[in-house]
C-alpha cells in the first residue's frame, strides 16, 4: 500500500513537472496573446489593460495554476484556426485513439504469448529457427509501412475492408471495430515480434537457473517445470515491456492513423502542428502525457504485485 501511494505521488509530481514544462514552452513560442488579439497597432495602454485582464502579468506559476484548474474543468482554451473550444474538438477523438491502441495491445498479447512460449519450448528446432528469422524481419517493418502493406493486401487484394472508408463509432460500433482492426494490426506487429523475442530469451535465461533443477528434483514433469516455475519468472520482464508498449501504441497510433485515414488525435495533432495552433497541440500533448504516466504507474504497481522482491527493496 505504501508502495502504491509512493508511486501515485511520484506520478502526480511528474505530471505537474511535465505540464509545467509544456505550459512554459508553449507560452514562450506562442508570443504575447494580448498583442496577437489586438494587433501591433494598439496603444500600449490598451495592451497593458488587456494583459491585466487576461492575467498575463501574473507570475508564471499563478498563470500555470489557473490554466491547470481550467484544464481539469474541461476548459482547454480556444483553437486559433477553428475558433472553437479545444475540448469539443478533441474530446470525441480520444476514444478513437484509445480503441486503436487497445485493440493493438490485445492483438499483441494474443500473438506474442503463444508464439513466444512455442519457440522457447522448442528451442533450436527448425520451426523455432524459422520463426526467429521471420520474427526478426517483421520486427524491422515500421508500422506505417506495414500499414501500407496491410492496406494493399487486405484492402485492395482481399477486399476485407475499404481503405479510407473509416466508420465512426457513434454510427456503427461493430463497423468501427472492424475497421480499426487493420490499423491496430499494423501497430501491434512490431511490438508483438519484440515481445516474442523477449519472452524467448527470458525463458532461456530462466531455464538455466538453479531453482529449475530444484523443481525437477521434486518430481515435476518438464511441462510442470515450464509452466509453474520458469514461465512465471520469465514473464516478469515481459510484463514491463507490455506496459511500455501500451504507451508506445498510443503514440504510434498518431502515425498509423495517417495511413488508414482515421480521424483520431493524431490527425488533429499534425494539422495543428503545421498550423501552429498551439492550444490544440498543447491540449493533446498534455492528454497523451497523462495517459502515458497513468499507464506507467499502473504497470509499476502490477509489477510489484507480481514480483515479491520489488516492494521490499523500495521500503
Amino acid at each position: 500500500m505504501k508502495f502504491v501511494i509512493k508511486k501515485f505521488v511520484t506520478m502526480v509530481i511528474t505530471i505537474i513537472m511535465v505540464t509545467l514544462f509544456v505550459f512554459i514552452a508553449f507560452n514562450l513560442i506562442s508570443g504575447d496573446a494580448a498583442i496577437s488579439s489586438l494587433g501591433t497597432q494598439a496603444t500600449p495602454e490598451r495592451i497593458e489593460s488587456l494583459r491585466n485582464e487576461l492575467g498575463l502579468n501574473d507570475p508564471v506559476l499563478v498563470q500555470y495554476g489557473r490554466w491547470a484548474i481550467n484544464f481539469l474543468k474541461g476548459d482547454m482554451g480556444i483553437s486559433y484556426s477553428y475558433r472553437m473550444p479545444v475540448s469539443t474538438m478533441i474530446m470525441d477523438k480520444v476514444p478513437v485513439t484509445l480503441t486503436m491502441a487497445l485493440i493493438a495491445f490485445v492483438l499483441m498479447l494474443i500473438f506474442s504469448i503463444p508464439v513466444g512460449i512455442y519457440t522457447s519450448k522448442h528451442e533450436d528446432g527448425w520451426i523455432d529457427r524459422s520463426i526467429i528469422i521471420i520474427n526478426q524481419i517483421l520486427m524491422a517493418i515500421p508500422p506505417f509501412f506495414s500499414g501500407i502493406l496491410i492496406t494493399f493486401l487486405f484492402g485492395r487484394l482481399l477486399k476485407l475492408f475499404t481503405p479510407g472508408g473509416y466508420i465512426s463509432y457513434d454510427k456503427n460500433i461493430f463497423g468501427f471495430i472492424g475497421y480499426m482492426f487493420f490499423p491496430a494490426l499494423a501497430i501491434a506487429l512490431p511490438k508483438a515480434t519484440m515481445a516474442v523475442k523477449m519472452l524467448r530469451s527470458s525463458v532461456l535465461k530462466e531455464a538455466k537457473l538453479d531453482y529449475v533443477r530444484t523443481a525437477y528434483s521434486k518430481g515435476n514433469s518438464t511441462n510442470e517445470v515450464f509452466y509453474h516455475h520458469v514461465l512465471k519468472n520469465a514473464m516478469l520482464p515481459v510484463i514491463t515491456f507490455f506496459g511500455m508498449t501500451l504507451t508506445d501504441m498510443i503514440a504510434g497510433s498518431i502515425i498509423v492513423e495517417q495511413v488508414f485515414s482515421v480521424p483520431g488525435l493524431g490527425r488533429i495533432l499534425l494539422t495543428s502542428i503545421s498550423n501552429r495552433d498551439y492550444p490544440v497541440v498543447m491540449a493533446i500533448i498534455v492528454i497523451i502525457s497523462v495517459m502515458v504516466l497513468l499507464i506507467n504507474m499502473l504497470v509499476d504497481i502490477l509489477y510489484s504485485v507480481l514480483d515479491p522482491r520489488i516492494s521490499i527493496e523500495d521500503k
Binding site: 511528474t14 513537472m17 511535465v18 509544456v22 514552452a25 508553449f26 513560442i29 526478426q136 524481419i137 520486427m139 524491422a140 517493418i141 515500421p142 506505417f144 509501412f145 501500407i148 502493406l149 492496406t151 494493399f152 485492395r156 481503405p163 531455464a207 538455466k208 537457473l209 538453479d210 529449475v212 533443477r213 504507451t247 508506445d248 498510443i250 503514440a251 504510434g252 498518431i254 502515425i255 495517417q258 495511413v259 495533432l269 499534425l270 495543428s272 502542428i273 503545421s274 498551439y278 497541440v281 500533448i285 497523451i288 502525457s289 502515458v292 504516466l293 506507467n296
Partner: protein
C-alpha cells in the same frame, strides 16, 4: 571447466551463443555496408537527378532505364531512394551523435559523482524516458518547427535519456571496481578516471546501444518524414516517398515497395548488429 556445478548450465551455451551472435553481427554488418554502398553510389553516380521531373515518364514501371520505375512526377525512384537513404542516414547520424554525446556526459557525471544532482537529473531523466520518443519528438517539433535540422535536434534530445541511463548504470558498476580504486589511489584526476579508465571499459554496452540508437533513429526519422514534418520537399526522403506512394498504391505498388524495403533493410541491419554486440 566447471563440471561439479549446475548441470543445466551448459558450458556449451556460451560458445554457441557467441557464435550465433557473431552470425547476427555479420549479417547485420553486411546489410548495413550494402546500404552504405547503395547510398554512396547515389551520392557519386546517381542514375538521374532525384528531383528532375519528367512528365513523359509518369508512373513508368520497372525497366532497364528506370530499375525501380518512376513516381507520379516521373522522377526516377531508384535515384530518390538512394538520396532518401542518405537523408535518413544523415538525420540518424546527427541524432545518435547528440544522443550519445550528451548521454555520456550526463550518465558519466551522475553515475560517477552520485549525490543530489544525480538524484534530480535521474528523476527528470526517468520521467522523460517514460515517454514514447515519437511523442517527445513531436513536442519538440511543434516548438522548433519542421525541417531536417529541427528533426535531428528533436530526436537527438529525445534520445539523450536512454543513453544517459545506460552509461550511468555502467559507471555505477565501474565506480566500485578495483581498477578504479587503484587509479584513485595513484592520484589520477576524476577527469582521467572517467574518460581514460572507465569509459573505454563500457564500450560493448555503449556500442550496442549506439546500434540500437541508429535503429530507433532511422525508424523515427522515417516516421517524421512520413508525417511530413521531417525532410521538406522537393528533397527526397524515404518516409515522405512512402506517404506519397500510398495514394497511388493500386496504380504503382513499386513506388511504395522500394523506399519501404530500404527502411526495413536499414532497421534490420542495425538491429542485427546491436544483437550481435550486446547480450549479457
Amino acid at each position: 571447466m566447471k563440471i561439479n556445478n549446475y548441470i543445466f548450465v551448459k558450458d556449451i551455451s556460451l560458445k554457441k551463443n557467441s557464435l550465433k551472435n557473431n552470425r547476427n553481427f555479420i549479417a547485420g554488418s553486411i546489410i548495413v555496408v550494402f546500404m552504405m554502398i547503395f547510398m554512396l553510389v547515389g551520392m557519386i553516380a546517381s542514375p538521374y537527378d532525384p528531383t528532375a521531373i519528367d512528365s513523359s515518364a509518369k508512373f513508368q514501371g520497372m525497366s532497364l532505364a528506370h530499375w525501380f520505375g518512376c513516381d507520379n512526377f516521373g522522377r526516377d525512384i531508384l535515384s530518390r531512394v538512394m538520396e532518401g537513404t542518405y537523408a535518413t542516414f544523415k538525420v540518424a547520424f546527427g541524432t545518435v551523435i547528440i544522443g550519445t554525446l550528451f548521454g555520456i556526459i550526463v550518465g558519466a557525471l551522475t553515475g560517477y559523482y552520485g549525490g543530489l544532482i544525480d538524484e534530480i537529473l535521474m528523476r527528470i531523466n526517468d520521467s522523460i524516458f517514460a515517454f514514447p520518443s515519437i511523442l517527445l519528438a513531436l513536442l519538440f517539433i511543434s516548438l522548433l518547427g519542421a525541417g531536417t535540422y529541427q528533426v535531428t535536434l528533436a530526436l537527438g534530445i529525445a534520445f539523450i535519456p536512454s543513453f544517459a541511463r545506460i552509461v550511468r548504470a555502467e559507471f555505477l558498476k565501474a565506480k566500485n571496481m578495483d581498477y578504479v580504486k587503484v587509479a584513485k589511489l595513484m592520484g589520477a584526476s576524476d577527469f582521467r578516471i572517467i574518460f581514460i579508465h572507465i569509459l573505454p571499459n563500457t564500450y560493448t554496452v555503449l556500442l550496442s546501444s549506439i546500434m540500437i540508437g541508429f535503429n530507433n533513429a532511422v525508424l523515427a526519422e522515417a516516421s517524421m518524414s512520413f508525417l511530413g514534418i521531417g525532410v521538406q520537399p522537393p528533397d527526397p526522403s524515404l518516409g515522405r516517398m512512402l506517404s506519397e506512394a500510398q495514394i497511388y498504391l493500386a496504380k504503382a505498388p513499386n513506388y511504395a515497395l522500394f523506399p519501404g524495403v530500404a527502411i526495413i533493410l536499414l532497421i534490420l541491419g542495425f538491429s542485427l548488429m546491436a544483437d550481435g554486440i550486446g547480450r549479457d
